[in-house]
Amino acid sequence: MSYPEDLRYTAEHEWARLESGLVTVGITSYATEQLGDIVFVELPELGRRLEAMKAFGTIEAVKTASDLFAPVAGEVVAINEALADNPALVNQSPFGEGWMIRVKPADAGDLKRLMNHEAYAQLIEEQHA
């Protein structure tokens, strides 16, 4: 299994993409495969300040629920409104249209603490060894 090279990853299966000073956050294809069909994504309000690796929302699949963890500290500047009507976007396009929030990071340097695609792929492999 390979994962997009331009993203950073958490051990809780979130991804983070730094673009023009903002960090977009979603969950990985591995996470969606584990969860199954997603029926609801509870996201934070705009302006909320997130702490790194603290829960910022909840994802409900048919069979199970999971917390969403913030890859970096920062302020929520956008949420993916499309998920309210179509949470299945997360299953269909976890790294694209299924993104969840956009954060103005307290320190963009924090992304370096997250895993790169190779380290994340290795983590998944080890969990399945």
């Binding site: 609801f40 048919v62 199970t64």
Partner: protein, 371 residues
């Protein structure tokens, strides 16, 4: 169970792997959780037909003079009244009224087949063996029996031409013995989905012929393999019990709403006195159906509250694709169990508003009437 313990496999394991199923440990078996996706599989069963491998379930054969009387004493339902070709749902209780298991009893001409939950095979067998009188034989055939379910409004179209004709005409809770794709089988009109359908019992050695036959015959009718994920949402929409979640050794069939399987008019059966007393004194808690008002989903083991006070616990909960809502079952204090009661389910720091509603949640299934 030891995490390193080897999981048992059903005779269909290879087909699940080939179909790309995600496999999980269920009651010590490596079973398919999902193939194409929970919702798609669920909808296939509601609209066309689904194929389930449920070979993990246990099958016991009870035979001999006195078999009917033995089962009538060990089980709560009216087993003595059954006739050959009839299947009956029942529970098996402890003397204190707790549920040892819920099971199906199939009566044949000269024996009974009991179909029990996979997680309870060893417990049930020991329980029955201890009560089994001389002259009655009890045999565990779980390991050499394969069990597939074909469920959905198109189930009989899938089987037409591959089972004896009377099997397609029979009502629910009846069964016939006869060839299935040319191999000896028990063909029962039973299921766990709320749809019309069949449960097919045959020898493990015939697995290949039956699986391939069903896949081929099912293709024009939209038959899809269905995993345990959709099996759970289908049964939950019907408010069917899942042993270990909704019922167990500490719950009584009366509390669970299974009073219809408890025949207190029978002179003697295990648990009768405790259940008669419970009925007379009134129930302190009841299993109720809950419908969530938001989109958060109540899940197993979450607390149920009324005005901030704990009144119960969720036993099963999921998003119900066919009801379009999150639904759950929960034991709640009898005073909070009235239809329409507004309660809350504690999901971490947040509260999910729920309402007590009638069971089943889904009422449009193609299930036949029993006969």
């Amino acid at each position: 169970m030891e995490p390193t313990a080897t999981l048992k496999r059903t005779p269909f394991h290879r087909f699940h792997k080939d179909a790309g199923a995600k496999l999980v440990d269920f009651a010590g078996f490596e079973m398919p959780l999902r193939y194409a996706g929970d919702v798609r599989e669920h909808q296939a069963v509601r609209t066309c037909a689904g194929l389930f491998d449920i070979s993990h379930m246990g099958e016991f054969i009870v035979r001999g003079v006195g078999a009917a009387e033995f089962l009538d004493r060990a089980l709560t339902n009216d087993i003595a009244s059954t006739t050959p070709g009839q299947a009956m749902y029942t529970v098996m209780c402890r003397p204190d009224g707790g549920i040892v298991d819920d099971l199906y009893v199939y009566r044949s001409g000269d024996h009974f087949m009991l179909v029990v939950n996979a997680s309870n095979i060893a417990k049930d067998f020991a329980w029955l063996r201890d009560q089994c009188p001389t002259g009655v034989s009890l045999t565990d055939r779980s390991d050499d029996t394969a069990l597939l379910a074909v469920q959905g409004p198109k189930a009989s179209d899938v089987l037409r031409g591959h089972v004896p004709e009377p099997a397609l005409a029979m009502p629910a809770n009846r069964f016939v013995e006869g060839p299935l794709f040319g191999v000896p089988a028990t063909i029962a009109r039973t299921g766990y989905t709320g749809e019309d359908g069949f449960e097919l019992y045959f020898k493990s050695g015939d697995a290949l012929a039956v699986w391939n036959g069903l896949i081929e015959a099912g293709r024009p009718h939209g038959l899809e393999p269905v995993g345990l994920g959709a099996r759970d949402t289908l049964r939950l929409e019907m408010a069917y019990m899942l042993y270990g979640n909704d019922i167990d050794d500490t719950t009584s069939p009366l509390e669970a709403g299974l009073g219809w399987t408890v025949k207190l008019a029978k002179p003697a059966f295990t648990g009768r006195d405790a259940l008669a007393r419970q009925k007379e004194q009134g129930l302190t808690r009841r299993l109720v159906g809950l419908e969530a008002e938001g989109r958060r989903v109540p899940r197993h083991d979450m607390a149920v509250e009324s005005g901030g006070r704990a009144v119960g616990r969720v036993t099963s909960g999921a998003y119900g694709p066919s009801v379009g809502k999150a639904v759950a079952m929960a034991y709640v204090d009898a005073t909070s169990a009235a239809l329409g009661a507004a309660l809350e389910v504690a999901a971490g720091a947040s509260r999910i508003p729920v309402r007590v509603v009638k069971r089943p949640f889904y009422t449009h299934g193609s299930r036949r009437a029993a006969g």
